[in-house]
Amino acid sequence: MADNNSMKKETRHLRPLMMMLVAIVFLVVLMCSLSLAIIAYDQEGSMVNTIKTTDSITIMYTEGRSGINITNALPTKDSIGKELSGEGATFSFTVSAKLKSSNVRYEVTAIKDSSSTLEDDDVRLYLEKSVDNEIYLPVFGPSSFTPLKEQSSLGSPKGSMIIETGTFDKTQTNNYILRMWLKDNYNVDKDSKTYTVTVNVYAASNAS
Protein backbone atom coordinates (compact mmCIF):
# COMPACT_ATOMS: atom_id res chain seq x y z
CA MET A 1 0.00 0.00 0.00
CA ALA A 2 2.78 2.36 0.91
CA ASP A 3 4.54 1.35 -2.29
CA ASN A 4 1.46 2.07 -4.35
CA ASN A 5 1.13 5.47 -2.77
CA SER A 6 4.73 6.38 -3.45
CA MET A 7 4.41 5.16 -6.98
CA LYS A 8 1.31 7.21 -7.49
CA LYS A 9 3.12 10.24 -6.04
CA GLU A 10 6.02 9.81 -8.47
CA THR A 11 3.66 9.45 -11.38
CA ARG A 12 1.90 12.62 -10.46
CA HIS A 13 5.20 14.55 -10.39
CA LEU A 14 6.30 13.13 -13.76
CA ARG A 15 3.08 13.85 -15.64
CA PRO A 16 3.42 17.61 -15.77
CA LEU A 17 6.98 17.31 -16.96
CA MET A 18 6.01 14.95 -19.71
CA MET A 19 3.21 17.16 -20.83
CA MET A 20 5.60 20.11 -20.96
CA LEU A 21 8.04 18.10 -22.99
CA VAL A 22 5.40 17.04 -25.46
CA ALA A 23 4.20 20.61 -25.84
CA ILE A 24 7.71 21.88 -26.46
CA VAL A 25 8.44 19.17 -28.99
CA PHE A 26 5.16 19.95 -30.77
CA LEU A 27 6.01 23.62 -30.95
CA VAL A 28 9.55 22.94 -32.23
CA VAL A 29 8.25 20.66 -34.93
CA LEU A 30 5.68 23.27 -35.87
CA MET A 31 8.38 25.91 -36.05
CA CYS A 32 10.68 23.81 -38.22
CA SER A 33 7.90 22.98 -40.59
CA LEU A 34 7.07 26.59 -41.02
CA SER A 35 10.75 27.47 -41.53
CA LEU A 36 11.16 24.81 -44.16
CA ALA A 37 8.13 26.08 -45.94
CA ILE A 38 9.62 29.57 -46.06
CA ILE A 39 13.18 28.74 -47.18
CA ALA A 40 12.44 26.31 -49.96
CA TYR A 41 12.88 27.79 -53.51
CA ASP A 42 12.72 26.56 -56.99
CA GLN A 43 16.07 26.35 -58.74
CA GLU A 44 15.01 24.32 -61.69
CA GLY A 45 15.28 25.73 -65.17
CA SER A 46 17.92 27.99 -66.60
CA MET A 47 15.87 31.02 -67.49
CA VAL A 48 13.87 31.91 -64.45
CA ASN A 49 14.57 31.81 -60.79
CA THR A 50 11.61 32.42 -58.69
CA ILE A 51 10.74 32.47 -55.13
CA LYS A 52 7.25 32.58 -54.06
CA THR A 53 6.66 32.95 -50.40
CA THR A 54 3.21 33.94 -49.59
CA ASP A 55 0.59 35.52 -51.71
CA SER A 56 2.01 38.91 -50.72
CA ILE A 57 5.56 38.59 -52.19
CA THR A 58 6.91 37.27 -55.46
CA ILE A 59 10.42 38.07 -56.54
CA MET A 60 11.95 37.04 -59.85
CA TYR A 61 15.39 37.15 -61.41
CA THR A 62 15.28 36.55 -65.14
CA GLU A 63 18.46 36.17 -67.20
CA GLY A 64 18.68 37.17 -70.84
CA ARG A 65 19.21 34.73 -73.68
CA SER A 66 23.00 34.73 -73.47
CA GLY A 67 25.78 35.99 -71.29
CA ILE A 68 28.85 37.97 -72.26
CA ASN A 69 31.25 35.99 -74.39
CA ILE A 70 34.11 38.04 -75.75
CA THR A 71 37.04 36.22 -77.35
CA ASN A 72 40.37 37.67 -78.44
CA ALA A 73 39.68 40.54 -76.14
CA LEU A 74 42.20 43.31 -76.24
CA PRO A 75 42.61 46.19 -73.81
CA THR A 76 39.74 48.59 -74.14
CA LYS A 77 39.20 52.09 -72.90
CA ASP A 78 36.27 52.59 -70.54
CA SER A 79 34.66 54.98 -72.99
CA ILE A 80 34.55 52.17 -75.54
CA GLY A 81 33.62 49.43 -73.12
CA LYS A 82 30.60 51.31 -71.88
CA GLU A 83 29.20 51.34 -75.41
CA LEU A 84 29.70 47.65 -76.20
CA SER A 85 26.65 46.16 -77.82
CA GLY A 86 25.48 43.15 -79.70
CA GLU A 87 25.13 39.45 -79.06
CA GLY A 88 27.76 38.25 -76.64
CA ALA A 89 28.92 41.73 -75.76
CA THR A 90 26.36 42.44 -73.04
CA PHE A 91 24.34 40.51 -70.50
CA SER A 92 20.73 41.56 -69.94
CA PHE A 93 18.65 40.49 -66.99
CA THR A 94 15.73 41.67 -64.91
CA VAL A 95 14.90 41.67 -61.24
CA SER A 96 11.23 42.10 -60.48
CA ALA A 97 8.89 41.93 -57.57
CA LYS A 98 5.16 41.58 -57.09
CA LEU A 99 4.23 43.04 -53.78
CA LYS A 100 1.04 43.75 -51.91
CA SER A 101 2.19 45.48 -48.83
CA SER A 102 5.81 44.62 -48.19
CA ASN A 103 9.24 46.00 -48.96
CA VAL A 104 11.95 43.84 -50.46
CA ARG A 105 15.62 44.78 -50.34
CA TYR A 106 17.87 43.13 -52.87
CA GLU A 107 21.44 42.97 -54.07
CA VAL A 108 22.75 42.07 -57.51
CA THR A 109 26.04 40.27 -57.03
CA ALA A 110 28.77 39.17 -59.42
CA ILE A 111 30.28 35.83 -58.53
CA LYS A 112 33.73 35.26 -59.97
CA ASP A 113 34.35 31.80 -61.37
CA SER A 114 37.37 30.07 -59.89
CA SER A 115 38.56 29.12 -63.36
CA SER A 116 39.36 32.78 -64.10
CA THR A 117 43.03 33.35 -64.88
CA LEU A 118 42.95 37.12 -65.28
CA GLU A 119 43.52 39.23 -62.22
CA ASP A 120 40.58 41.11 -60.73
CA ASP A 121 42.29 44.36 -61.61
CA ASP A 122 42.49 43.43 -65.27
CA VAL A 123 38.78 43.55 -65.96
CA ARG A 124 36.17 46.25 -65.79
CA LEU A 125 32.51 45.74 -64.97
CA TYR A 126 29.76 48.18 -65.72
CA LEU A 127 26.05 47.96 -64.95
CA GLU A 128 23.21 50.03 -66.28
CA LYS A 129 19.61 50.01 -65.09
CA SER A 130 16.27 50.98 -66.53
CA VAL A 131 12.79 50.87 -65.10
CA ASP A 132 11.08 51.32 -68.45
CA ASN A 133 13.47 49.20 -70.55
CA GLU A 134 14.19 52.26 -72.65
CA ILE A 135 16.38 54.71 -70.87
CA TYR A 136 19.35 53.07 -69.17
CA LEU A 137 21.45 54.86 -66.59
CA PRO A 138 24.70 53.72 -65.03
CA VAL A 139 24.41 52.29 -61.56
CA PHE A 140 27.80 50.65 -61.15
CA GLY A 141 31.31 51.14 -62.54
CA PRO A 142 33.20 50.96 -64.68
CA SER A 143 35.11 49.31 -61.92
CA SER A 144 37.48 46.45 -61.35
CA PHE A 145 36.26 43.42 -59.49
CA THR A 146 36.60 44.12 -55.78
CA PRO A 147 35.64 41.11 -53.68
CA LEU A 148 33.68 41.39 -50.47
CA LYS A 149 35.68 40.73 -47.36
CA GLU A 150 32.66 39.38 -45.49
CA GLN A 151 29.29 37.99 -46.42
CA SER A 152 26.76 40.78 -46.73
CA SER A 153 23.69 41.08 -44.60
CA LEU A 154 21.53 39.91 -47.51
CA GLY A 155 23.73 36.92 -48.13
CA SER A 156 26.12 37.91 -50.89
CA PRO A 157 29.02 35.60 -50.15
CA LYS A 158 32.50 36.64 -49.20
CA GLY A 159 34.61 37.04 -52.32
CA SER A 160 31.72 38.15 -54.52
CA MET A 161 31.08 41.73 -55.53
CA ILE A 162 27.83 43.64 -55.09
CA ILE A 163 27.12 45.64 -58.21
CA GLU A 164 23.69 46.96 -57.33
CA THR A 165 21.45 47.35 -54.32
CA GLY A 166 17.84 48.36 -54.35
CA THR A 167 14.51 48.20 -52.67
CA PHE A 168 11.13 47.28 -54.07
CA ASP A 169 8.22 48.95 -52.35
CA LYS A 170 5.71 48.14 -55.05
CA THR A 171 5.32 45.76 -57.92
CA GLN A 172 8.03 46.66 -60.38
CA THR A 173 10.53 45.29 -62.85
CA ASN A 174 14.08 46.60 -63.00
CA ASN A 175 16.00 45.94 -66.20
CA TYR A 176 19.77 45.65 -66.18
CA ILE A 177 22.55 45.45 -68.73
CA LEU A 178 25.95 44.21 -67.60
CA ARG A 179 29.11 44.88 -69.64
CA MET A 180 32.60 43.55 -69.02
CA TRP A 181 35.87 44.26 -70.79
CA LEU A 182 39.63 44.03 -70.51
CA LYS A 183 41.18 47.01 -68.78
CA ASP A 184 42.93 49.41 -71.12
CA ASN A 185 46.41 49.04 -69.64
CA TYR A 186 46.52 45.27 -69.67
CA ASN A 187 49.69 43.95 -71.28
CA VAL A 188 48.73 41.46 -73.92
CA ASP A 189 51.21 38.65 -74.35
CA LYS A 190 51.35 35.18 -75.81
CA ASP A 191 49.08 33.63 -73.18
CA SER A 192 45.33 33.74 -73.52
CA LYS A 193 43.54 34.29 -70.21
CA THR A 194 39.91 34.32 -69.15
CA TYR A 195 37.63 35.91 -66.61
CA THR A 196 34.15 34.58 -65.90
CA VAL A 197 31.42 35.87 -63.62
CA THR A 198 27.83 34.81 -63.02
CA VAL A 199 25.20 37.08 -61.54
CA ASN A 200 23.15 36.24 -58.47
CA VAL A 201 20.42 38.16 -56.72
CA TYR A 202 19.99 38.15 -52.94
CA ALA A 203 16.90 39.62 -51.38
CA ALA A 204 15.14 39.97 -48.04
CA SER A 205 11.84 41.40 -46.89
CA ASN A 206 10.05 42.17 -43.65
CA ALA A 207 6.84 40.13 -43.77
CA SER A 208 4.63 38.43 -41.31
Partner: protein, 226 residues
Protein backbone atom coordinates in the same frame (compact mmCIF):
# COMPACT_ATOMS: atom_id res chain seq x y z
CA UNK B 1 -3.64 20.12 -5.09
CA UNK B 2 -3.63 18.20 -8.29
CA UNK B 3 -5.66 20.92 -9.90
CA UNK B 4 -3.09 23.53 -8.88
CA UNK B 5 -0.34 21.50 -10.40
CA UNK B 6 -2.20 21.11 -13.63
CA UNK B 7 -2.91 24.79 -13.81
CA UNK B 8 0.69 25.53 -13.23
CA UNK B 9 1.65 23.17 -15.98
CA UNK B 10 -0.82 24.65 -18.37
CA UNK B 11 0.32 28.14 -17.59
CA UNK B 12 3.91 27.07 -18.04
CA UNK B 13 3.20 25.48 -21.37
CA UNK B 14 1.21 28.46 -22.49
CA UNK B 15 3.99 30.76 -21.40
CA UNK B 16 6.55 28.76 -23.26
CA UNK B 17 4.27 28.60 -26.29
CA UNK B 18 3.80 32.33 -26.28
CA UNK B 19 7.50 32.78 -25.88
CA UNK B 20 8.23 30.45 -28.76
CA UNK B 21 5.60 32.01 -30.96
CA UNK B 22 6.89 35.41 -30.13
CA UNK B 23 10.42 34.38 -31.01
CA UNK B 24 9.33 32.54 -34.13
CA UNK B 25 7.10 35.40 -35.02
CA UNK B 26 10.12 37.75 -34.92
CA UNK B 27 12.11 35.21 -36.98
CA UNK B 28 9.34 34.97 -39.50
CA UNK B 29 9.57 38.78 -39.90
CA UNK B 30 12.93 38.49 -41.92
CA UNK B 31 12.67 36.39 -45.11
CA UNK B 32 15.74 35.89 -47.27
CA UNK B 33 15.89 35.02 -50.94
CA UNK B 34 18.77 33.67 -52.94
CA UNK B 35 18.39 33.65 -56.69
CA UNK B 36 21.41 32.06 -58.38
CA UNK B 37 22.15 32.97 -61.98
CA UNK B 38 23.06 30.38 -64.56
CA UNK B 39 24.51 32.45 -67.38
CA UNK B 40 28.29 32.73 -67.49
CA UNK B 41 29.80 36.03 -68.56
CA UNK B 42 33.27 35.46 -69.95
CA UNK B 43 36.01 37.43 -71.62
CA UNK B 44 39.01 35.65 -73.13
CA UNK B 45 42.02 37.75 -74.01
CA UNK B 46 43.58 37.93 -77.45
CA UNK B 47 47.27 37.17 -77.80
CA UNK B 48 50.22 38.90 -79.39
CA UNK B 49 53.58 37.26 -80.01
CA UNK B 50 56.44 39.00 -81.71
CA UNK B 51 59.84 37.67 -82.71
CA UNK B 52 62.97 39.12 -84.24
CA UNK B 53 65.16 36.38 -85.73
CA UNK B 54 68.66 37.11 -86.96
CA UNK B 55 70.23 35.24 -89.84
CA UNK B 56 73.15 32.96 -89.24
CA UNK B 57 75.84 35.54 -90.02
CA UNK B 58 76.30 39.25 -89.90
CA UNK B 59 78.13 41.27 -92.53
CA UNK B 60 81.90 40.88 -92.51
CA UNK B 61 83.65 42.70 -95.33
CA UNK B 62 87.38 43.37 -95.27
CA UNK B 63 89.53 45.63 -97.44
CA UNK B 64 86.43 47.60 -98.31
CA UNK B 65 87.08 50.44 -100.72
CA UNK B 66 84.76 53.36 -101.46
CA UNK B 67 82.20 52.40 -104.05
CA UNK B 68 79.12 53.95 -105.57
CA UNK B 69 75.60 53.05 -104.45
CA UNK B 70 75.06 51.14 -107.68
CA UNK B 71 77.92 48.86 -106.76
CA UNK B 72 77.03 48.67 -103.08
CA UNK B 73 73.46 47.62 -103.75
CA UNK B 74 74.68 44.56 -105.61
CA UNK B 75 76.92 43.20 -102.87
CA UNK B 76 76.24 39.51 -102.72
CA UNK B 77 76.29 36.97 -100.05
CA UNK B 78 78.69 34.61 -101.71
CA UNK B 79 82.15 34.04 -100.38
CA UNK B 80 84.90 32.02 -101.95
CA UNK B 81 84.98 28.35 -101.24
CA UNK B 82 88.71 28.31 -100.66
CA UNK B 83 90.67 29.87 -97.86
CA UNK B 84 91.25 33.07 -99.81
CA UNK B 85 87.56 33.92 -99.95
CA UNK B 86 86.47 36.17 -102.77
CA UNK B 87 86.54 39.79 -103.83
CA UNK B 88 83.26 41.60 -104.14
CA UNK B 89 82.45 43.14 -107.45
CA UNK B 90 83.46 46.72 -108.07
CA UNK B 91 86.11 46.74 -105.35
CA UNK B 92 83.53 46.85 -102.59
CA UNK B 93 85.75 44.65 -100.52
CA UNK B 94 86.69 41.10 -99.77
CA UNK B 95 84.83 38.25 -98.17
CA UNK B 96 86.88 35.74 -96.25
CA UNK B 97 85.88 32.13 -96.71
CA UNK B 98 82.59 31.61 -94.90
CA UNK B 99 81.95 35.32 -94.39
CA UNK B 100 78.75 37.02 -95.42
CA UNK B 101 78.33 40.16 -97.47
CA UNK B 102 74.75 40.72 -96.36
CA UNK B 103 72.76 40.39 -93.14
CA UNK B 104 69.40 38.66 -93.37
CA UNK B 105 66.84 38.77 -90.60
CA UNK B 106 63.06 38.62 -90.13
CA UNK B 107 60.42 40.06 -87.85
CA UNK B 108 57.32 38.01 -87.14
CA UNK B 109 54.08 38.72 -85.32
CA UNK B 110 51.29 36.35 -84.37
CA UNK B 111 48.16 38.26 -83.49
CA UNK B 112 44.83 37.03 -82.19
CA UNK B 113 42.51 39.98 -82.01
CA UNK B 114 42.22 43.29 -83.74
CA UNK B 115 45.31 45.36 -83.05
CA UNK B 116 48.08 47.20 -84.90
CA UNK B 117 51.67 46.56 -83.87
CA UNK B 118 54.24 49.14 -84.85
CA UNK B 119 57.91 48.19 -84.79
CA UNK B 120 61.22 49.94 -85.33
CA UNK B 121 64.40 48.48 -86.78
CA UNK B 122 67.32 50.31 -85.20
CA UNK B 123 70.98 50.17 -86.22
CA UNK B 124 73.19 50.50 -83.18
CA UNK B 125 76.79 51.50 -83.84
CA UNK B 126 79.41 49.74 -81.76
CA UNK B 127 81.79 51.87 -79.77
CA UNK B 128 84.91 50.42 -81.33
CA UNK B 129 83.96 51.71 -84.79
CA UNK B 130 86.68 53.98 -86.18
CA UNK B 131 85.20 54.86 -89.56
CA UNK B 132 83.26 58.08 -89.36
CA UNK B 133 79.50 57.92 -89.64
CA UNK B 134 79.35 59.86 -92.90
CA UNK B 135 81.35 57.19 -94.72
CA UNK B 136 79.35 54.13 -93.70
CA UNK B 137 76.50 53.44 -96.07
CA UNK B 138 73.54 51.27 -95.11
CA UNK B 139 70.84 49.83 -97.32
CA UNK B 140 67.82 47.82 -96.21
CA UNK B 141 65.50 45.75 -98.36
CA UNK B 142 62.24 44.09 -97.37
CA UNK B 143 60.38 41.14 -98.78
CA UNK B 144 57.42 38.98 -97.87
CA UNK B 145 59.36 35.91 -98.92
CA UNK B 146 62.20 34.21 -97.07
CA UNK B 147 64.05 34.04 -100.39
CA UNK B 148 63.93 37.85 -100.54
CA UNK B 149 62.07 37.59 -103.83
CA UNK B 150 60.77 40.87 -105.24
CA UNK B 151 62.27 42.99 -102.51
CA UNK B 152 61.36 46.60 -101.95
CA UNK B 153 63.53 49.31 -100.44
CA UNK B 154 62.80 49.64 -96.77
CA UNK B 155 65.65 52.17 -96.48
CA UNK B 156 67.42 53.51 -99.57
CA UNK B 157 71.22 53.72 -99.36
CA UNK B 158 72.04 56.29 -96.73
CA UNK B 159 75.07 57.13 -94.66
CA UNK B 160 74.78 56.36 -90.99
CA UNK B 161 75.03 60.00 -89.94
CA UNK B 162 71.92 60.85 -91.94
CA UNK B 163 69.69 58.27 -90.26
CA UNK B 164 67.39 59.83 -87.70
CA UNK B 165 68.13 59.19 -84.08
CA UNK B 166 64.58 59.03 -82.85
CA UNK B 167 61.74 60.29 -84.91
CA UNK B 168 58.17 60.51 -83.83
CA UNK B 169 57.67 57.29 -85.71
CA UNK B 170 59.95 55.44 -83.33
CA UNK B 171 58.47 53.36 -80.57
CA UNK B 172 58.91 54.48 -76.99
CA UNK B 173 61.55 51.83 -76.51
CA UNK B 174 63.39 52.85 -79.66
CA UNK B 175 63.85 56.46 -78.57
CA UNK B 176 66.74 57.71 -76.53
CA UNK B 177 69.08 54.82 -77.24
CA UNK B 178 72.73 55.71 -77.34
CA UNK B 179 74.45 55.36 -80.73
CA UNK B 180 71.26 54.06 -82.30
CA UNK B 181 69.64 55.18 -85.50
CA UNK B 182 66.24 54.38 -86.95
CA UNK B 183 66.59 52.27 -90.06
CA UNK B 184 62.97 51.48 -90.75
CA UNK B 185 59.52 51.52 -89.18
CA UNK B 186 56.75 49.12 -90.14
CA UNK B 187 53.48 47.69 -88.83
CA UNK B 188 51.62 44.44 -88.42
CA UNK B 189 47.83 44.39 -88.53
CA UNK B 190 47.62 40.61 -88.73
CA UNK B 191 49.91 37.66 -88.21
CA UNK B 192 52.76 37.87 -90.72
CA UNK B 193 56.52 37.65 -91.22
CA UNK B 194 58.57 40.44 -92.73
CA UNK B 195 61.97 39.51 -94.20
CA UNK B 196 64.86 41.96 -94.40
CA UNK B 197 68.34 42.15 -95.96
CA UNK B 198 70.90 44.69 -94.79
CA UNK B 199 73.92 45.73 -96.85
CA UNK B 200 76.78 48.01 -95.81
CA UNK B 201 79.63 49.55 -97.74
CA UNK B 202 82.11 52.42 -97.69
CA UNK B 203 80.70 55.53 -99.27
CA UNK B 204 82.58 56.75 -102.33
CA UNK B 205 83.36 60.06 -100.63
CA UNK B 206 85.79 58.31 -98.31
CA UNK B 207 89.48 59.01 -98.95
CA UNK B 208 91.37 55.82 -98.45
CA UNK B 209 94.65 56.21 -96.65
CA UNK B 210 97.15 54.00 -94.94
CA UNK B 211 94.93 53.47 -91.90
CA UNK B 212 92.43 50.64 -91.87
CA UNK B 213 89.17 51.57 -90.20
CA UNK B 214 86.10 49.63 -89.15
CA UNK B 215 82.42 50.28 -88.78
CA UNK B 216 80.23 47.84 -86.89
CA UNK B 217 76.49 47.90 -86.19
CA UNK B 218 74.06 45.50 -84.60
CA UNK B 219 70.35 45.54 -85.37
CA UNK B 220 67.66 45.79 -82.69
CA UNK B 221 63.90 45.58 -83.07
CA UNK B 222 61.32 47.28 -80.84
CA UNK B 223 57.56 46.83 -81.12
CA UNK B 224 54.47 48.14 -79.44
CA UNK B 225 50.72 48.11 -79.99
CA UNK B 226 49.18 51.32 -81.18
Amino acid sequence: MQDNSSKQILLSVLGVAILIVAVVGVSFAVFTYQLAGQKENTITTGTITMNYTEGQKGISITNAMPVSDDVGKTITNTAGADDTGSDLAGGAGHLEAGASGVFDFNVNATINGSVTIKYDIMAVKKGESTLEDQYAKLYLQKSDAATMASPSDAQVPITYDKLSEASSAATDAGKGLQNAKLLHTDTFTASATHYYRLRMWVDNSYKVDKTARTFTVTVNVYGQAV
